[in-house]
């Protein structure tokens, strides 16, 4: 079987981050990059599906600048067989729809049995890239999946979908299909030192949108939103800050406990 896993490098803001000069995003020098938490679970799910199949190929795909290569190598060390990175300078402000369209173009080329994505990314929090991709591809899809049981001979997957309030729906989906994977579905593995070394030898392909048949005009046409400004959120009725050292904080907390539930 073949599984494509879409992953993203996410930005974690430094404590004293600053905005870019145009005010539309954070200065990229003020962030640290990491693999998106949800994608780690999606990758692990793919690797486990691969391990229980007679023959399998796991391909990780990302849209990201050269920083993202480190994230792809980490995925290769955790069991992916090959990686694809899509980028060119024009993608710096790519929105959900453009990223989904680029990933869809890679999936089209790979023709996998399953596409796995994370439910959302921790920095963008759109929760939409995977399902938008399914829309571009016309693929069956299930969002927020907490269990996957793939039946290769029947070409179906029995999955669990997590709803609000602890409710879970069981359903069967026809494959090829796209699933967005929720945290907690498995326990993502750590890579061994040996696997990290081996990952350096695994293939990592770099593509531009043009390589995927998307010229500048097609790219511009796909963008469905534009951030025009970023700002600090209004503070509202901000919390009353408890000042002082740990002992003073503890004393104040105990006083509030006494007052409210004493």
């Amino acid at each position: 079987m073949k599984v494509v896993v879409c992953v993203k490098q996410v930005a974690q803001l430094d404590e004293d981050f600053e905005l870019r000069d145009d005010g539309r995003d954070v200065d990229p020098d003020c962030v640290e990059w990491d693999l998106n938490e949800w994608d780690a679970f999606a990758l692990e799910a793919a690797v486990r599906l691969g391990e229980s199949a007679a023959e399998a190929e796991i391909v990780v795909v990302t849209v990201g600048d050269d920083e993202a290569e480190e994230r792809l190598r980490a995925c290769l060390a955790k069991g992916a067989d090959r990686a694809v990175r899509v980028w060119d300078g024009g993608l710096v402000d790519a929105d959900v729809m453009l990223v989904a369209r680029l990933l869809a173009a890679v999936v089209e080329r790979e023709a996998p049995d399953l596409v796995l994505c994370g439910v959302q990314s921790s920095d963008g929090v759109s929760g939409a890239t995977g399902v938008a991709m399914a829309g571009f591809l016309g693929l069956p899809r299930v969002a927020v999946v907490t269990g996957i049981d793939y039946d290769a001979s029947a070409r179906t997957a029995t999955v669990e979908r997590e709803l609000e309030g602890g409710l879970v729906e069981r359903l069967r989906v026809r494959t090829p299909a796209l699933l967005t994977v929720q945290t907690g579905i498995n326990e993502p593995r750590y890579a061994s030192r040996r696997a990290i070394k081996q990952a350096r030898e695994k293939p990592l392909e770099e593509l531009t949108p043009a390589d995927l048949g998307l010229d500048a005009e097609a790219v511009a046409r796909t963008v469905a939103s534009r951030v025009t400004a970023m700002d600090h959120p209004p503070k509202g009725d901000a919390a009353e800050l408890i000042e002082g050292g740990p002992d003073e904080v503890a004393a104040r907390i105990l006083a509030i406990v006494e007052e409210r539930v004493g």
Binding site: V125, L163, G165, D231, A250, I253
Partner: protein, 319 residues
């Protein structure tokens, strides 16, 4: 092309709360965008449930009968496409809910709609303008949709007060010729998460810990502290995902909604899905070393401090 189409949501025979919040958001939008305000509802029982959506401000309710008893994402996508073609709105509003996340982005992609999700607000400023969080709600982004004459927005729940007051909407059924071949899933059943011996929804005082506690071995210290303070221990999702505590202790959108007199949070950042489960607590105290953590926006009292230092000082005073 004008007006707003709200897509209401129902599950297991009941209209979900988000539906009337969307109507309220649409109400202020049509003042700028122009009417009408149309509410669409898709489901096997859509016609029976339609009167529940007849609140002040709604001009028309359009029902689509689903060929499936339960929500099905590919049915929903086709129904949404038909509703949009029929109503021809400038703005389509849905909730940022698990169901909507399963189909709305797919239609937006296929139909080339302007798109934004997890919106805090949508306003008309000669064109639709969305405000939404960025970087886990540490920042707020202003989003526009240049070149799109129709946009689809998924709204965060709890962002506006639900619409109320009796309405006088027309009700109409829209017949949709569903493509059966595209309905790719089959419902097998629902499962509720088991209830444990402890019911955190009934507790008056919850001491809640998040990923900030770092390691499983640190959990027992907070169990002991909770006991000493007379509190019940609750947790955020990563603690359950890691298998350190059962899901019966999880607060949030996919866990339980709690409304204690006091919620004391250690090392919880305040992600929207966590806040969904506890923002109605009477008093919230947050201890977090990050002064920018979004939990401080809902907390009544906050301490920017190392949680272990505070926990130890609390234990020492209680001993």
């Amino acid at each position: 092309m004008s007006g707003v189409l709200v897509v209401a949501e129902a599950r297991r025979g009941a209209v979900r709360d988000i539906s009337l919040e969307l109507v309220a958001a649409a109400g202020s939008l049509v003042r700028g965008a122009g009417g009408p305000l149309v509410v669409g509802l898709v489901g096997a029982d859509a016609e029976e449930l339609a009167p529940r959506l007849d609140v002040a401000g709604v001009d028309e309710i359009v029902t689509v009968r689903s060929p499936r008893e339960h929500f099905e994402a590919h049915v929903a996508e086709q129904a949404l496409e038909a509703l949009v073609a029929d109503v021809e709105p400038a703005v389509v509003l849905l909730g940022h809910t698990i169901d909507a996340l399963g189909y709305a982005p797919a239609l937006a992609a296929r139909a080339g709609l302007g798109f934004a999700s997890d919106a805090w607000s949508v306003q008309w400023d000669g064109m639709p303008v969305v405000r939404r969080g960025a970087y886990g709600d540490r920042l707020v982004a202003r989003v526009e949709f240049p070149g799109r004459d129709r946009v689809l927005v998924l709204m965060r729940s709890g962002a506006v007060e639900p619409a109320a007051g009796a309405g006088s909407a027309r009700v109409r059924a829209l017949d949709v010729a569903f493509d059966e071949a595209a309905i790719a899933t089959e419902h097998l059943g629902y499962r509720e998460v088991e209830r444990g011996d402890v019911d955190i929804t009934q507790a008056e005082f919850l001491l809640s810990v998040g990923r900030g506690i770092g390691d499983k071995s640190n959990l027992s210290q907070f169990e002991e502290l909770a006991e000493a303070l007379g509190a019940t221990l609750a947790v955020s999702r990563p603690i359950v995902d890691a298998g350190w505590m059962p899901s019966t202790r999880q607060v949030g959108q996919s866990g339980l909604t709690v409304k204690p007199k006091l919620y004391l949070a250690f090392g919880i950042s305040g992600a929207v899905q966590h806040l969904a489960g506890m923002r109605k607590a009477e008093t919230i105290i947050a201890v977090n070393s990050d002064p920018e953590a979004p939990i401080f926006n809902v907390a009544h009292y906050g301490a920017v401090a190392d949680l272990f230092d505070v926990a130890e000082a609390l234990s020492a005073r209680e001993a």
